[in-house]
């Protein structure tokens, strides 16, 4: 299945979850938040949130800002 993670297309195995995507794109889970198709996925739900073909995933963390 194909999803878009932080604007980049990625191929993932069927049944991949939000937790799997987070592990792929960052080594730290602390200070990270995820939205799928614009909706916030709470951390406690990452492992159970299966992704579907075409999903838009945003994996976000702290950056410098005023």
């Amino acid at each position: 299945m194909k999803v878009v993670v932080n604007g980049n297309p990625r191929a993932l195995p069927e049944g991949a979850t939000v937790a799997d995507v987070v592990r792929v794109v960052t080594s730290v889970a602390r200070g990270v938040a995820v939205a799928v198709n614009g909706e916030v996925v709470p951390r406690a739900g990452w492992a159970g949130a299966a992704l579907r073909d075409g999903d838009q995933v945003e994996v976000l963390t702290a950056a410098q800002g005023g």
């Binding site: 938040a33 995820v34 994996v59 702290a62 950056a63 800002g65 005023g66």
Partner: protein
């Protein structure tokens, strides 16, 4: 002591982390500033890693509280989403709410800001809105249940200081909440003036992070905020059109 959302802060300087050339200088500036509340933004992990991998760890070492912002949002809808994501990421209900109206001035869009503030207050956030220097909008934000208001002195990063001191004083009088002068500070005297006008705190990013020597500027602004606060409480003399001699005329020698 400054109290925001039930939390007491000894320092009246809120530091923004944007604009620092590297994390090491930023860490030294944070420590020198004495700030206990430091803003961060929320960005894609890949972009954040190239900018500042380890920012949160560094802020932990400094022992400061993180204040997430919604920088870059142009609509209430977007800002509310970012606030929710920030609450997930940083486990804090505090948010510096920014809803920008235009790219050139980066001034707030008051209509979208109020809408977002109302929604986030209802969702249980402690909302600190970056607002204009309009006293009426500040009051509307206070009525909406915000934890404080953050009026702009002048546009973000402009270094133009407090463009409308009278309005900042009016905001101070019109809301019974912490007033935090935000944006436009260029140097220490601007921060002192904001405090003399009655502000409870000053938020500074660029004036420190983009100074030639950010660590020294952090110290200068820390002292300026303390000086301005003292001066504000000490009660300045009224302005007069003509002179008022400070030396008595009585006993003047006739030569």
């Amino acid at each position: 002591m400054l109290k925001i959302g039930g939390v007491e802060l000894r320092s009246r300087l809120i530091l923004g982390t944007g604009g620092a050339s590297n994390l090491d200088i930023l860490e030294r500036a944070v420590k020198e500033s004495g700030s206990e509340l430091v803003t961060v933004s929320l960005r894609r992990v890949d972009a954040a890693a190239t900018m500042n991998g380890g920012l949160l760890d560094m802020l932990d070492r400094c022992g400061v509280r993180v204040l997430p912002n919604t920088a870059g949002c142009y609509t209430a809808r977007e800002a509310v989403k970012v606030a929710h994501l920030a609450r997930e990421a940083f486990e804090t209900p505090w948010v510096k709410l920014e809803v920008i109206g235009d790219e050139r001035t980066l001034l707030p869009d008051g209509v979208e800001l109020l809408r977002a503030a109302e929604e986030l207050v209802a969702d249980g956030f402690q909302v600190l809105p970056y607002t204009t220097d309009d006293p009426i909008l500040a009051r509307r934000l206070a009525d909406a249940g915000c934890a404080g208001v953050m009026p702009a002195g002048s546009p973000i990063g402009s270094g133009l200081g407090v463009a409308n001191p009278h309005h900042i004083q009016l905001i101070r009088q019109s809301v019974d909440l912490p007033v935090i002068l935000d944006a436009g500070i260029g140097t220490a005297s601007d921060a002192a003036l904001a405090m003399e006008l009655g502000c409870d705190a000053v938020m500074v990013a660029s004036a420190i992070t983009r100074a030639a020597d950010p660590v020294s500027m952090a110290a200068a602004i820390r002292h300026a905020i303390e000086a301005g606060r003292l001066a504000s409480r000490a009660g300045r003399i009224p302005r007069r059109f003509h002179a008022l001699a400070s030396t008595p005329d009585e006993g003047r020698p006739h030569l």
